[in-house]
């Protein structure tokens, strides 16, 4: 089972790390340069990164025909979108 999941694990791993690095650089720039917009941008990217990981996993499972797991990922993305909407109310 671990071998079967290896491509998805690696893809999600890279997505999480890439999002983290980008968010971290923006947050650091925001703190060092006193730029609120950069800091807020970094925080938004940080919050979106786990969802991007789920998206990447879902796309991978959909391509390989693992429909149940793809549906789980889709459901998670809908729930996260609902939470973002609730925060604006």
């Amino acid at each position: 089972m671990a071998d079967k999941d290896a491509p998805y694990r690696i893809a999600v791993s890279r997505t999480l790390w890439g999002g983290m690095v980008l968010a971290g650089l923006l947050i650091l720039a925001g703190l060092l340069l006193a730029q609120k917009a950069a800091g807020l941008g970094g925080i938004l990217i940080l919050i979106a990164t786990p969802a991007l990981g789920v998206l990447v996993a879902g796309a991978g499972y959909a391509r390989s025909g693992e429909r149940r797991l793809a549906a789980v990922c889709a459901a998670l993305l809908v729930l996260i979108a609902c939470s973002a909407f609730l925060g604006t109310l």
Partner: protein
């Protein structure tokens, strides 16, 4: 789990603002540690995604409810939770070694360098994991924690995951859970960009180091350290809830 009490107890930050910063730190540590654990294979992505369905539901309800629950109630609830978790972990007699078994649909397999062999496991009692997921998500939304404080003991004690797989999978899950809660807090304006940014940068450095070091320790050692830290913070939070200040 330790950041929110530290901000409240030692820096005088309000519980809601501390929870918001805590959620950002959770996302940062999750992304950092999970990117490492996913490569190693200790994080079970399938199980994590399935359990995340209930944790995210719980996180949304918790995040919305947090605006209406009194601060001392939240602090006291946090302290009480930590006491229970400490007790559950302390009485666990599982030495962390798992007999080799077929992995099953949601099972996993990884090489453990601390014991020098491949560990294979199949999760049991998935309904318990899902129920605990909802509760941990709720706690995440209410208290600004990742939920790992509940996920890890339940996955280890009831779903029978090895401790390393439980912590690694929980690390992966809590990022998604915290992101759902953080979106609610961010929209409400309960996240301070400067404080949040500072804790994020510190959390990233700490979690990367922790992920590397954790691979070298045996399950039992990790569990004991987790138990003692949890107990220490629970006492402080309960004291704060009852005596204020």
């Amino acid at each position: 789990m330790f950041l929110v009490p530290a901000l409240v107890l030692y820096f005088g930050v309000g519980i809601t603002e501390a929870a918001g910063a805590g959620l950002l730190a959770v996302i940062a540590t999750s992304c950092t540690a999970a990117s490492f654990n996913l490569k190693l294979g200790t994080a079970n992505i399938r199980l994590g995604l399935v359990l995340n369905t209930t944790t995210v539901l719980g996180a949304i309800t918790g995040g919305v409810a947090a605006a209406y629950v009194p601060e001392r109630t939240l602090i006291g609830a946090f302290g009480a939770l930590l006491i229970v978790i400490s007790w559950l972990l302390w009485r666990d007699k599982n030495d962390g070694e798992t007999r080799r078994t077929s992995a099953g649909a949601l099972g996993g397999e990884y090489h453990d360098p601390a014991v020098g062999r491949t560990i294979s496991y199949s999760p049991k009692r998935l309904p318990a994991g899902l129920a605990a997921g909802f509760a941990s998500g709720n706690l995440s939304g209410l208290l600004g924690v990742g939920g790992g404080v509940l996920n890890v003991p339940v996955m280890h004690l009831y779903c029978e995951l090895p401790m390393k797989a439980a912590t690694a999978t929980s690390n992966f899950m809590i990022g998604v859970t915290a992101a759902a809660s953080a979106a609610v807090y961010f929209g409400r304006g309960d996240i301070d960009p400067r404080m949040g940014g500072a804790v994020v940068l510190g959390a990233v450095a700490g979690s990367r180091l922790g992920a590397h070091l954790g691979a070298r320790f045996k399950d039992q050692s990790l569990r004991r350290a987790f138990t003692l830290l949890t107990l220490f913070l629970s006492v402080q939070m309960l004291w704060r809830a009852f005596h204020g200040g």
